[in-house]
């Protein structure tokens, strides 16, 4: 009977110890299998509700001998059951994160005043600053509790990203808050990162408040795809948002999985700066002399022409004078180097290493169209860009193009922001932009982070209306300073302890979350944490399937506060 009533009330235990710094300890009063690590629980104590996350379950006994000896074989069943019920137990470790006033008794004047404050949203969950009493009741969160903390689907910017493990209650993320700072999606290979990214991107595109630029290195977000594990068709963003998403191919005549892009991007030689080349130091194995050579090229030919001029210089070209003495061809690298005071060997080595760029088909002297401007216009007009790398999906192309474009686009946004903030006539507020970067560790590792525009964007948050959504399977390879700036982190299973450490950088309660992260169910469960979510929570991520699209594209009527409170039981 006792269990039955606990099932009805949802009570799973009571507080037996713990503290504000250490986690709370609760004695479980239902079978241990009823609760899983990561469960979202509510502690009712006095006039307050405490919201927390189960971070550990521990078996205990009043005396170790009750656990050591199998008393079940020595006593009648009923006696043994009673004995185990009182001497063997499971303790929950609860990481509390938020607390909220429960309010006075309904029907009183105080209640009416309090209720009005809730309706006005002046009473909201706040960070936990005290502890519940001993023996305070612990129960699993109900749908209303989840909605109170994480917001209600369909209301404002709240977008359902998954469901709680127990009860399957919807858990939402505030899309507007998500993009206010850079965010990250992490997880080892095959843990469902791409599907989760598709879900979030679909939400952002559907929301329509932010423009999205996706560097689609592996051509998986724009066009339709086939899931590698199930073999099922996976709709691409272009397919579902035909009018809103522009698919851009890299290089003239590019096709993406056999489909024609909306337009193609060619990069003008004049757009390439020496800094763009320096960012490829690792990929091209450039020497220490490279900056000197590049600076000489810039001084000699200017920002617009250095690449073109250098590209067309001859290598190993020599002429002979009347005396038969060999001298460098005036159009050669060596001749230019001698004239510019640069070591000819260093210049020729650089020329040789840049050959991969000189030969890149998407770098041309005069692009057929100003695709970069078109991309900026699209993003300005509320459209979204998926830049597919097509056949150019090697690291060099990805690093070079993504860096160059990001630098150019951010410059535009910075200029507009400055105009807007200084009150220039006609200057309008720039549209928020999210740049989606896959394999982020290649762009944001310790060596490159100080040079790339990406780390600048991550650091400056939303100052210039541009933020990043980085996707990576090796977060430990991303520079700490960048990781610590990420607002929201959504992470699937990670096996490497360094990666787990990196994802939890700068967060409270990371020790408790560490084990949880290593035991997430691959492809299903993700841990959502960081500034952008009210408290860490493990969720079963939303499936990216036909049902998802039906729900997303269907018009939904948000409920008002009174309806939400009704669900909460007020």
């Amino acid at each position: 009977m006792e269990n039955f009533s606990e099932e009805q009330t949802g009570k799973i235990g009571y507080i037996v110890g713990g503290g504000l710094k250490a986690n709370l300890q609760a004695r479980l009063s239902v079978p241990a299998q009823t609760v899983q690590e990561g469960a979202f629980v509510v502690i009712e104590s006095g006039g307050w509700l405490f919201y927390g996350l189960v971070t550990d379950l521990q078996l205990g006994s009043t005396d170790p001998r009750f656990a050591d000896e199998q008393t079940g074989t020595r006593l009648p069943h009923q006696l043994a059951e009673m004995l185990h019920g009182q001497t063997l137990f499971t303790n929950l470790e609860i990481l509390t994160a938020l607390m909220m006033e429960r309010g006075p008794e309904p029907g009183t004047d105080e209640y009416n005043v309090w209720y009005q404050k809730v309706l006005d949203e002046t009473i909201r969950p706040e960070p936990v600053k005290t502890v519940p009493q001993h023996h305070a009741e612990v129960r699993l969160a109900r749908a209303g509790d989840i909605a109170e903390i994480f917001g209600r689907e369909g209301k404002g910017a709240f977008f359902r990203i998954g469901d709680t493990l127990e009860g399957g209650h919807p858990v939402c993320v505030d899309l507007d808050k998500l993009v206010q700072r850079s965010a990250g999606i992490f997880g080892a290979t095959g843990t469902g990162k791409s599907f989760l990214t598709r879900v979030i991107l679909s939400g952002l595109i559907h929301r329509g408040k932010t423009s999205v630029l996706i560097f689609d290195m592996h051509n998986e977000y724009g066009p339709d795809d086939t899931a590698s594990d199930t073999g099922l068709r996976v709709p691409g963003l272009k397919n579902k948002f035909r009018a809103k998403v522009r698919m851009v191919g890299l290089g003239r005549g590019a096709t993406i999985r056999g489909e024609q892009p909306d337009y193609t991007l060619e990069i003008a030689e004049s757009d390439i700066t020496p800094e763009d080349v320096m960012m490829l130091s690792q990929a091209l194995n450039l020497r220490e002399t490279t900056p000197t050579t590049l600076e000489a090229l810039r001084v000699n030919f200017g920002y617009d022409n250095w690449f073109h001029e250098f590209k067309h210089m001859k290598v190993n070209a020599y002429l002979y004078d009347e005396e038969g003495k060999r001298y460098p061809d005036p159009d050669s690298v060596a001749a230019w180097a001698e004239g510019a005071g640069v070591h000819p060997g260093a210049a020729e080595a650089l020329h040789s290493k840049l050959r991969r760029l000189f030969n890149a088909p998407y770098i041309v002297e005069e692009p057929a169209a100003n695709a970069l401007q078109q991309m900026i216009d699209n993003l300005d007009n509320g459209q979204h860009i998926v830049l597919s790398f097509g056949k150019h999906e090697n690291d060099l192309d990805y690093l070079f193009v993504s860096n160059l474009l990001t630098r150019r686009i951010r410059d535009v946004w910075e200029h507009r922001t400055n105009n807007f903030r200084s009150g220039h006539q006609g200057a309008k507020e720039p549209r928020p932009l999210v740049i989606v970067v896959e394999e982020a560790h290649k762009l944001l590792n310790r060596e490159m982070a100080s040079q790339t525009t990406f780390s600048t964007i991550a650091r400056e948050m939303r100052k210039y209306y541009v933020t990043l959504l980085i996707i990576d399977q090796r977060p430990s390879q991303i520079y700490d300073e960048v990781m610590s700036q990420l607002g929201t982190r959504v992470t699937g299973w990670l096996g490497d302890s360094d990666d787990i450490h990196a994802v939890l950088t700068g967060l409270a309660g990371r020790e408790a979350l560490r084990g949880m992260l290593a035991r997430l169910q691959p492809k299903e469960e993700v841990l959502m944490l960081g500034w952008g979510v009210p408290m860490p929570i493990v969720i079963r991520s939303r499936r990216y399937n036909e049902a998802f699209w039906e729900e997303l594209l269907e018009k939904q009527t948000p409920k008002d506060n009174a309806a939400i409170l009704d669900e909460l039981g007020y």
């Binding site: 009043t62 009750f66 009182q86």
Partner: protein
């Protein structure tokens, strides 16, 4: 309700007392039985029998060593001997008016007070009052056969409660015992093993 007198008090104190009785009175009281000593019209003390023993005397010693003692002589010495059977009782509580307390009696009974076996109704009333507070008096003295005493008491009380339609008394009593003894593994296991004999 006809009360069965089983003897009179020999020695007494607030925590327990010893009854003396004749051998032919020994049919009724048994180890673990609940007894009561009415002292005033609205005040009576309850206790539980934890020991019954018979002291020897000189005549018994002679008879044991003698040969061919006639059966009637043996019976006469057994039934009419001067040394009484001694029944030791542990005080468990008292009744003041209608209220039952599982506390030691404020005043002990006096010598030669008559002592009675509790009726089933009295046993139900006493064991149902409060929340098994009288268990602590039984558990207090480890020199007594606590596990056996509890098993005998549980067996008797369970039968009476279940006859009256209350099947929850026994599991609740066990739960309380486990709660009281869970920090004492050995004693608890002894009690439970003894209770396990009841079935």
């Amino acid at each position: 309700m006809s009360a069965i007198a089983i003897g009179r008090l020999l020695r007494t104190g607030t925590s327990g007392f010893v009854i003396g009785c004749r051998v032919n009175q020994l049919d009724s009281p048994s180890f673990g039985s609940l007894v009561r000593v009415p002292l005033e019209p609205d005040y009576q003390v309850f206790g539980i029998i934890y020991d019954i023993h018979i002291e020897d005397d000189g005549l018994v010693r002679q008879l044991i060593t003698a040969e061919d003692v006639p059966e009637e002589v043996l019976r006469d010495n057994r039934e009419n001997r001067n040394v009484p059977v001694e029944i030791a009782v542990l005080a468990l509580g008292y009744q003041q008016g209608e209220q039952i307390f599982h506390l030691l009696p404020p005043r002990p009974p006096l010598s030669l007070d008559a002592i009675y076996l509790s009726s089933p109704e009295e046993m139900i009333a006493f064991t149902s009052a409060g929340r098994f507070g009288y268990f602590r008096h039984i558990l207090r003295d480890p020199s007594k056969p606590v596990d056996e005493l509890l098993a005998a008491h549980l067996m008797t009380a369970r039968t009476i409660h279940e006859s009256a339609g209350n099947k929850s008394w026994y599991p609740e009593a066990l739960q309380e015992l486990i709660a009281l003894l869970r920090d004492d593994y050995q004693r608890l296991m002894n009690v439970l093993r003894a209770a396990g004999e009841i079935g």
